[in-house]
Symmetry: C2
Subunit: 369 residues, 2 copies
Amino acid sequence: MKNYSIAKSRRLRSTPYTSRIEKQGVTAYTVYNHMLLPAAFGSIEDSYHHLKKDVQVWDVAAERQVEISGKDSAKLVQLMTCRDLSKSKIGRCYYCPIIDDNGNLINDPVILKLAENKWWISIADSDVIFFAKGLATGKKFDVKIFEPNVDIIAIQGPKSFSLMEKIFGKKITELKFFGFDYFDFKGTKHLIARSGWSKQGGFEVYVENTKSGQDLYDHFFEIGLEFNVKPGCPNLIERIESGLLSYGNDFDNHDNPFECGFEKYVNLESDIVFLGKEKLKKIKSEGIKRKLMGVQIETKEISLTGSVNIMNIDGNLIGDLRSACYSPHFKKVIGIAMIKEPFCKSSETGKLEIEGKSLALKVCELPFI
Amino acid sequence: MKNYSIAKSRRLRSTPYTSRIEKQGVTAYTVYNHMLLPAAFGSIEDSYHHLKKDVQVWDVAAERQVEISGKDSAKLVQLMTCRDLSKSKIGRCYYCPIIDDNGNLINDPVILKLAENKWWISIADSDVIFFAKGLATGKKFDVKIFEPNVDIIAIQGPKSFSLMEKIFGKKITELKFFGFDYFDFKGTKHLIARSGWSKQGGFEVYVENTKSGQDLYDHFFEIGLEFNVKPGCPNLIERIESGLLSYGNDFDNHDNPFECGFEKYVNLESDIVFLGKEKLKKIKSEGIKRKLMGVQIETKEISLTGSVNIMNIDGNLIGDLRSACYSPHFKKVIGIAMIKEPFCKSSETGKLEIEGKSLALKVCELPFI
């Protein structure tokens, strides 16, 4: 497939680390929350193998925060998500589907409870800040909503624990999954969570002090030689194999949380108030008509730039493929597809056409691994 | 400056014309409303000269529509903009700053009044749909809000009138600026406005029937040879010379409409109800502390990837440069900058540093031409 340049401008914001990753050999960008997000440092497959073996440092500043504080902040945050946050704790991260009045998805952020009346919504690629502002204004909530200067560095991979321990000491290895705390780097406190957009383990540093964050970024490479540390970015292959879903790629505002396998984050039984609750109750009682499933395709390469229709043997449309890559683990192409009932079961077969070639596929469960 | 690839995926949506422009030689993309927007077909300067002389066909499907209909639609649309729409007419386009509760900008769309209770908000690059949904839910408005399948083709340049007349007949040349009407192409009606993101004159076809729109796209090139028609895209040089502002580049949610020169679209005297009205009254009475101005820089090339600080001769920060390009007309670099009081007057001088080079600049009025 031909390569096209990205036309840079202020509208596609750089991050505090952009000049660093450009020196380190970033080759491709995507745009995420109006910001540059590195998408490749040369071969994605090489980077995949490295991520599963060693440790990578990622510029994921494009994971922007929506800060919501003030007297009604908990009420507003709860109103936006179908996950019950009534027992949420300070110092914890919560994966929360954000739902509109129709029961459809607007985003799937991780929400950090910083204090009883202070939250960070760490967003996927859509302007949650304007949804929050609209709701808060309409409801006359007493809240303050803004995008703080937080530019995340992710440290991912099995050796991330050793690398982080070398800098922050033993205490950081005791952080529980999706817990966060504050750690000192040369006199500056950083909020660090045990989280990240891979299944290889790791941490995310929510950098508020830009200068210290840039020093920390450099420090990872200065002292990480023994762990074979390399720059990296969310890896298409690793995230599909692990079944990590991507808003905009695998699902969007036309899909509901049941269709996306988010059942366990939909709390319809409690008496919490959130948007789309009645719609979701109706959807649940009627049953969904389609669902995100895995597919395996008998080919060695694929390059997806949009949805691709999936037909069954009778020529009927049974769904659409939304993300795909060659998987070194399965030695074939795997992908994530929205499959219609009654075809969303793992015995189902189908085919799709890409660049004039017809390819056979098999439906399977998610996650792949 | 080094080129970086854009990593395509479903999240950066293709348009119905993407495969066509790729055959026609598009070389760079930007991302706009989560969609691919062509940014260059080879040299931007060559394209600039062509646009000012002949006619171009642009894939601007990334100008997405937010459709708002229903009983309370006029109330919701008015609530979002500081421009008085109480006397707005069906068949007209209105350039409308969208304002939040703090009096800051969220977008600067063109709003089309399709019927008394049906509007299209033709948006710049931010998710206005979620702001509208948040507000409508919070206010319990009786409205329907969604993104319709509308993929705009723009026809821009002095010969656009002849090209359009050849297809749609004399009637289309009688369309007033920012007026729209429905025109037939081989049996399909298309909404066509006399508008577009250049000052060279032209039209925008709001394509709802994708197949007919693709045929029309091809038809422009089949019959446009005599007008030297070429594919193109919003042109950085032409839009800066003409002083067409860009949300995200020249201003964003940290700026208010007075700072951006939108005074004539801020109607504080009428009794219409819109967000941020009291804030804007206060800002107006206190006076603004900075303003978007032009700058002229004594150099032959520039490549801006973000804001650049502007200092005066005493070394004080007087503003930041947000967009810039080499202007063949002025034979120097021109740009758009947010300049602080008391420095925002056309006699002011300053300097900035780009890639280690210090460059002298002069502040001037907008638009340049």
